[in-house]
Symmetry: C2
Subunit: 264 residues, 2 copies
C-alpha cells in the first residue's frame, strides 16, 4: 500500500555553508507548481534585467534533470574547479551561472540521477561554487513540490519566492499547493507572475486568451499575495530564447519587476 | 563535489506483479522531457477517444507530485480498498482511473513524498489496483527523465511510448534525452505528438506560431520516429479541461491517433 505519511520537512541537522568568498545579498527562488509555464525564461529575464540595472547577478539552475539555462544563455562549456571550489560560467553580460548541463560530457545525455544525488546537486551549486559578491541570486527551482523544492527551502537562505503561473486552471490548482508549502516552510512570498496571460494577433490586433481567462488576480486575492505582472505569449521572446539570445530581450515589464524585487 | 556516476538503470531483482484479475492488453506510456507541453491533456484525450471507440481503457496518473487527472475528469472521491486490492475511480464514460489526489484528504494539500515513496506509488498503482480486463492502459508519466520514469521503464510491461513535445526548442532538446533514455531501456517508441503547434485567430484566420516554428518534423526525421500528429492550441479544449469536462471533447485528430495506436 501507498504510505501517505509526510516526512518532517523542517528537520535539518546540517545547515550547508557557502564558500568564504561568497556573499549573496538577496536570493530569490522562482517556483511553479508544474513545468511549462515559462518559469526558466522568467528566471532568465529577471536575471538579465537585474544585471542590466547594475546588480551583479547569479543564477542557479535548480532543474537538474531538465536544465535549460545553458541553452537560454548559449553557454556550453564544462565547469572548472579545484580544491578551492568551482568557477561558475559567465554569460555575455556577466551573469554568473551554474547548470547541470555543464556536468555532462554530451548535452543530450539524460541525467539519470536518483533523488539524493539530485538534491545534493542543488546544495552543492550553492556551497561549492565560488560566487563571490552577488547583489542577487536567482534560483530557478525545478517544477513541483518534490524533493528538491523541499531541500532548497530547508537548506538555502532564501530571501523570498516568486511564483510563476499560467492561466491554465490545472496549473493554478498546483500553484495553490506551492503557496501552502511555502507557508509551511515559513518562506516569504514576494508575489505571483502570470505568464502566457494573453496573445495579440499582429494582423487584426485581437487579444486572445489561448489558455483560458486570467486566474492571476483570483489567485492573488485568494492567497493575499501581490500580482507582480501579467505577461503575454511573445513569439519574439520565444525566438530569442530558442537562439540562446535571451540577454538581448529588453522588456519594461521586467525592468519594473526588478525595481520592485530589489526594493522589497 | 557532485557525483556524476549514473546508477545501473537495468538492475531489477523483483519484477512487480499485478493482481490476478488484472489483464492489460496494451500499456502506453505518455512521456515528455519537460512539463507544460500538455502531456496530461493529451493522455486524457487518448483515453477518452479509445473508450469512445469501444476499448475498455484505464489511466494511471504517474505524476504523483503534480496530479491533474482528477481535475480533468472531475473525479474527486478517495480510493477505496481492502485486502483484496484497491478499486480504481470510474469516469463518466467508464474509464478506470487512479491518481495520487485520491490519496490525500484535501486536494490542495501538497504531496511531499520523498523519492522512494513516489517511485513506489506508481508501481503500487499498477500492482495493487484491481484493473480487471483493459484493452488499453494509458500511463501518464511525470515530466522528465527522473526516478519515476526510470522505475516505470524498468518495472512495468510497457508496450510502447508516445512522446509529447511542443515547438519550443528547449523542449525539443529535452525530448531528445527522452528518446535516448527509451533506447537505452529498450522500450519501443510509437511516435511523437507535437502539441501547441499553431494557433488560428478566429477573427482574421491568420495562423500563428506562438511558440516558434514546428520542430516535430525535424525531430521525427532526426530520430527516425513517426510524427503522429501536430495539434493546435485550442482554447475550447482548454476550457473543457478546466471544467473537468474533458470527456466531451471530440477530435478527429485523436480518433485517428487511437486507430493508429491500437493497430500498431
Amino acid at each position: 500500500m501507498v504510505d501517505t505519511k509526510n516526512l518532517d520537512p523542517k528537520f535539518n541537522p546540517f545547515k550547508p555553508r557557502p564558500k568564504k568568498e561568497t556573499q549573496i545579498k538577496k536570493m530569490i527562488a522562482v517556483v511553479s507548481g508544474k513545468g511549462g509555464v515559462g518559469k526558466s525564461t522568467v528566471s532568465a529575464l529577471l536575471a538579465t534585467h537585474a544585471q542590466r540595472a547594475g546588480y551583479q547577478t547569479g543564477i542557479i539552475d535548480g532543474d537538474i534533470i531538465g536544465p535549460s539555462m545553458g541553452h537560454l544563455f548559449n553557454i556550453h562549456q564544462p565547469l572548472f574547479g579545484d580544491d578551492a571550489g568551482i568557477q561558475p560560467g559567465v554569460t555575455e553580460t556577466g551573469i554568473k551561472l551554474v547548470t547541470s548541463n555543464m556536468l555532462v560530457p554530451n548535452e543530450t545525455t539524460p541525467i539519470l540521477w536518483r533523488g539524493a544525488l539530485i538534491t545534493n546537486a542543488v546544495k552543492d551549486f550553492y556551497t561549492e561554487v565560488i560566487w563571490e559578491e552577488l547583489d542577487l541570486m536567482v534560483l530557478d527551482m525545478p517544477p513541483g513540490t518534490g524533493d528538491i523544492a523541499l531541500t532548497v527551502f530547508q537548506n538555502l537562505p532564501i530571501t523570498g519566492i516568486i511564483i510563476v503561473t499560467s492561466p491554465q486552471d490545472l496549473v493554478s490548482m498546483i500553484v495553490s499547493k506551492a503557496v501552502e508549502m511555502a507557508n509551511k516552510m515559513n518562506v516569504p512570498i514576494i508575489g505571483i507572475i502570470e505568464n502566457f496571460s494573453y496573445f495579440v494577433c499582429d494582423d487584426c490586433d485581437k487579444v486572445h486568451y489561448p489558455f483560458g481567462s486570467s486566474k492571476g488576480k483570483m489567485l492573488s486575492e485568494k492567497y493575499n499575495i501581490p500580482l507582480l505582472g501579467q505577461l503575454p505569449i511573445n513569439p519574439l521572446i520565444n525566438e530569442l530564447a530558442d537562439q540562446g539570445r535571451i540577454e538581448e530581450v529588453e522588456s519594461e515589464d521586467f525592468t519594473w519587476l526588478i525595481e520592485t524585487i530589489m526594493e522589497a
